[in-house]
Symmetry: C2
Subunit: 179 residues, 2 copies
């Protein structure tokens, strides 16, 4: 941030009175501009024991497989966001169920909330963001071609819990090497 | 947002190509500026069966009681943020444990993550944000003087679960009347 989004004047990075972190403060109108982590919402869509994955048609990690997920938008709940992303990226209609994982990635200022998604029918299809969308049996999941560590952690916990008849929540903090 | 934070030129609200929501787009440098929900992190600090609450010294809801909580900052995990807020607002050192509630409040673009907090010692004290910080037995909790619906929901679930020997996660969506 170089300019004030309220008045267009240059901003300076300084610690406002009563605060303890540097913020972008307008040199003219004194507006304080905060920057905070973003929320990524998504789900593991399930259908008759299989899970739905998307092959990324866009960077980063083009060609690798992921769960449908994306930035939560203003005006929606976390579950609404996860269902919307699943429809947009995989053409799949889901009911969002339990939370599987909450993953903090401080080096990129993100928190991921990954839910179980019950597909309302088997329908799914490729989109501008997903060159392929496919249901996988557990044995066929392309572990070596998964796009992100968040996907690996979430899928692994989901499958382990399912095997043991559990529906656990996993609080995970990823370090500097997260992809 | 009226001006581009990258170059200072006026922005317009329009739907960028490949998107489906209006964004603030710079009229000069074409930068797209997204606005997304913010994360609030906090905890219910517990000590020998009591819970720690803070009497708000600031608006909104000055004089009402709340759990320590605040906006998650860049560069920290959700649990680090909850512990930091507890130290800042209640002078209490906690180990952040299980997640109690995840509360979406779409009309103010927030997601609250409220954890159980195990106080490392009984220490606590008032701060610039909290005119009083006090340990409460369950029977003494000031239900009629709690600051926000998020506090009421989280405390109620926490206490009900504790009574039943559970540690559940509660996914809650608050509507337009949330305070």
């Amino acid at each position: 941030m170089k300019f004030c989004s309220d008045c267009g004047a240059p901003v300076a990075l300084l610690v406002p009175e009563g605060d303890n972190l540097p913020r972008h403060v307008c040199s003219k109108c004194a507006a304080i501009h905060y920057s905070n982590p973003k929320v990524v919402v998504g789900c593991v869509p399930e259908w008759q024991g299989q899970v739905l994955l998307c092959r990324r048609a866009i960077e980063p990690r083009l060609g690798y497989w992921t769960m449908p997920a994306g930035f939560m938008e203003n005006g929606e709940t976390a579950r609404e966001g996860a269902a919307r992303e699943t429809l947009e990226e995989a053409r799949s209609r889901v009911e969002i169920a339990e939370l599987i994982s909450i993953i903090s990635i401080p080096n990129i200022n993100q928190v991921h909330l990954m839910f179980r998604g019950r597909m309302l029918d088997g329908g799914h299809g490729s989109t501008s963001e997903s060159s392929a969308v496919q249901l996988f049996d557990e044995a066929d999941i392309p572990w070596d071609a998964l796009a992100f560590r968040t996907v690996i952690h979430t899928l692994r916990h989901y499958l382990e819990d399912r095997k043991r008849g559990l529906q656990g929540l996993h609080i995970i903090d990823l370090g500097a090497l997260s992809s």
